[in-house]
């Protein structure tokens, strides 16, 4: 790299570092606060490290985490969130893939019209569907239960659309060859289509996980029983009831945020891909 190029790029790097600071410092401060002793949190000069306010020594603590996990109910909520995601994401993947496959490959009467209708349904804002969906969930006897969290979310038009596009791009000859060899439709689906679709299935899995791990609105309206709260909901409760104790709230926020950050670091390429396609379901 020539010196003149370095000089030219310097302002760009400086600007990027500043922008990155704006996006990252809130997280650093969240973590620092979550490890601080209560007495060290409210200082005139905020510190990005868990330091003792008098001596300035390094003094992190895990008390805040212990408190929110036990007293604040976030431990239970964490388990609930894990459970919901473990059931919901694989079930959703299977149902979306089956639906996408039938839209892509099985010619049944009215298929394309039905598909267009489904896409049109996507135009209706989520909020418009919220009230009647709650009503349906109630009538099915799933209101305020784990199933109420899972069943109404177990298919996503957007994911079906994505998967269908991918299935359509797979060569049809493969399937014909398999059929000649005597494979049934489900066998073709399991043995040929799914293994070939790993990249897109990964995208759908990861974006679904992030979306449902973070989702606040549906659990908020469908659950009453605090025992069933998922992490975002429990965190929201904690934030409003402990509003004077930022160190507890930040410990709770860290519990909600850190798992997703870990997933982001591991699967960053797939996630960026997925975002370009799905906009994270927004």
């Amino acid at each position: 790299m020539t010196t003149s190029k370095k000089v030219r790029l310097a302002p760009i790097y400086i600007a990027l570092v500043l922008l990155v600071a704006v996006s990252v410092v809130p997280f650093v401060w969240m973590l620092a606060t979550s490890f601080k002793h209560g007495s060290d949190v409210y200082t005139k000069v905020p510190s990005l490290l868990p330091l003792d306010r008098k001596t300035g020594d390094w003094s992190p603590t895990l008390e805040n985490y212990e408190h929110v996990l036990q007293v604040g109910g976030l431990g239970q909520a964490f388990l609930n969130s894990v459970w919901v995601c473990l059931v919901l994401v694989p079930a959703k993947l299977l149902i979306d893939a089956l639906a996408a496959y039938s839209f892509a490959r099985i010619p049944f009467p009215g298929r394309d019209k039905l598909f267009v209708l489904m896409l049109a349904g996507m135009m209706v804002p989520t909020i418009t569907l919220l009230v009647p969906r709650i009503h349906v969930t109630q009538q099915l006897g799933m209101f305020d239960s784990g199933w109420g969290l899972i069943i109404p979310n177990v298919a996503s038009v957007l994911d079906i659309f994505l998967l269908r596009q991918f299935f359509l791009s797979l060569p049809g000859e493969l399937e014909e060859a398999a059929r000649i060899d005597g494979a049934g439709r489900m066998q073709i689906f399991w043995r040929i289509i799914l293994p070939l679709s790993k990249p897109v299935l990964a995208v759908v899995t990861i974006t679904s996980f992030i979306f449902h791990w973070n989702d606040l609105v549906w659990p908020l309206v469908v659950l009453n029983d605090p025992e069933l709260y998922t992490l975002p909901l429990a965190l929201q409760q904690l934030a409003s009831s402990e509003s004077g104790r930022a160190y507890y709230i930040m410990a709770g926020a860290a519990l909600a945020v850190v798992p997703v950050i870990v997933v982001l670091l591991i699967f960053q390429r797939r996630i960026m891909q997925g975002i370009a396609f799905t906009g994270l379901k927004s």
């Binding site: 760009i12 600007a15 990027l16 922008l19 990155v20 996006s23 990252v24 809130p26 997280f27 401060w29 969240m30 949190v41 409210y42 200082t43 000069v45 905020p46 039905l114 209708l117 489904m118 349904g121 804002p125 909020i127 418009t128 569907l129 919220l130 009230v131 009647p132 969906r133 709650i134 009503h135 349906v136 109630q138 109404p152 298919a155 038009v157 992030i210 973070n214 606040l216 908020l220 992490l231 965190l235 929201q236 904690l238 934030a239 409003s240 009831s241 509003s243 930022a246 709230i249 930040m250 926020a253 909600a256 945020v257 982001l264 996630i271 960026m272 975002i275 370009a276 906009g279 927004s282």
Partner: protein
């Protein structure tokens, strides 16, 4: 298939039906014709905050969407100009996107804390007096819009994809013609990004009109599930208001009517945006 009928098609149609009724989710809905719509739009005794929530939402949209797109474009241009480290920078700029709304709300409440918050102490470095951001009616919307811009990572990724799609030859031709970087941006790069900008504008406006989770978390307080619209209802967005009707005041009919007004409004805005761009293109 049954799934879509139960959770998509039926809710959409029944939302329309219930918007013509007086209904509290427990008893049978009573048909009242257009009364919900008429009252919402004109009876400011029965629905005192309807127009306020419309105003809040439009203000928010007008500030948040350009701010978000501008930030995203700036980030994408900077990232596109460098090679080394661009993946790391992109990842760090993207962190806010995968963060749960509940955590975002909790973290920013702490950042905006009037006494101990990082935002005020940062401004203090430049001698700018601290503000009580979330308790001053005029500052609530800018404060919320700033959070939206902080979370602009999805738009950034999409802009980046758009920038990668501009052929190098065009850029080189502009350089040979002696265009300055600023001229190159306005004459070459920005026009070529117009489809991307348009897409982000449409989806951004639709999302901004429906902002809910964040304001819900930021303005819920006092324990339990009590939630306010912020100081003098300055943070009472349309969907937050809708939520309160549906799940606090048991006015499901009015809530459904509100959701349909929003639906129609979104359709009109989207159609206008498409027409506007078509005219510009011709």
């Amino acid at each position: 298939m049954a799934y879509f009928i139960v959770f998509l098609l039926y809710p959409a149609l029944s939302a329309l039906y219930y918007s013509f009724t007086d209904w509290d989710l427990r008893t049978d809905a009573a048909w009242v014709g257009l009364a919900n719509y008429v009252d919402l739009l004109s009876d400011d005794v029965k629905y005192p905050h309807f127009w306020k929530s419309v105003q809040v939402t439009l203000q928010y949209t007008l500030i948040a969407v350009p701010l978000t797109l501008g930030t995203a474009l700036a980030q994408a241009l900077l990232l596109n100009a460098i090679r080394r480290g661009s993946n790391v920078f992109r990842l760090l700029l993207f962190l806010p996107v995968v963060t749960a709304e509940a955590a975002v709300g909790a973290i920013w409440r702490w950042l905006y804390d009037p006494q101990y918050g990082l935002v005020n102490s940062f401004l203090g470095l430049f001698g700018i007096p601290g503000q009580n951001w979330l308790n001053t009616p005029e500052l609530v919307i800018p404060a919320l819009a700033f959070i939206a811009a902080w979370q602009c990572g999805i738009s950034m990724i999409i802009y980046l994809a758009g920038l990668k799609g501009i052929p190098d030859s065009i850029r080189e031709a502009a350089v040979i013609d002696g265009a300055t970087p600023i001229q190159r941006f306005w004459r070459v790069v920005f026009p070529m990004l117009r489809p991307t900008t348009f897409y982000l504008l449409v989806t951004g406006v639709i999302a901004a009109l429906q902002v809910f989770g964040l304001v819900y978390v930021i303005f819920s307080g006092g324990g339990g599930r009590s939630v306010t619209g912020g100081p003098e209802q300055s943070g009472l967005t349309y969907v937050l208001h809708l939520y309160l009707f549906a799940f606090r005041y048991d006015a499901m009919g009015a809530a459904c009517a509100m959701s349909f007004i929003l639906f129609v409004f979104i359709m009109i805005i989207t159609a206008l945006q498409f027409r506007f761009v078509k005219q510009e293109a011709s």
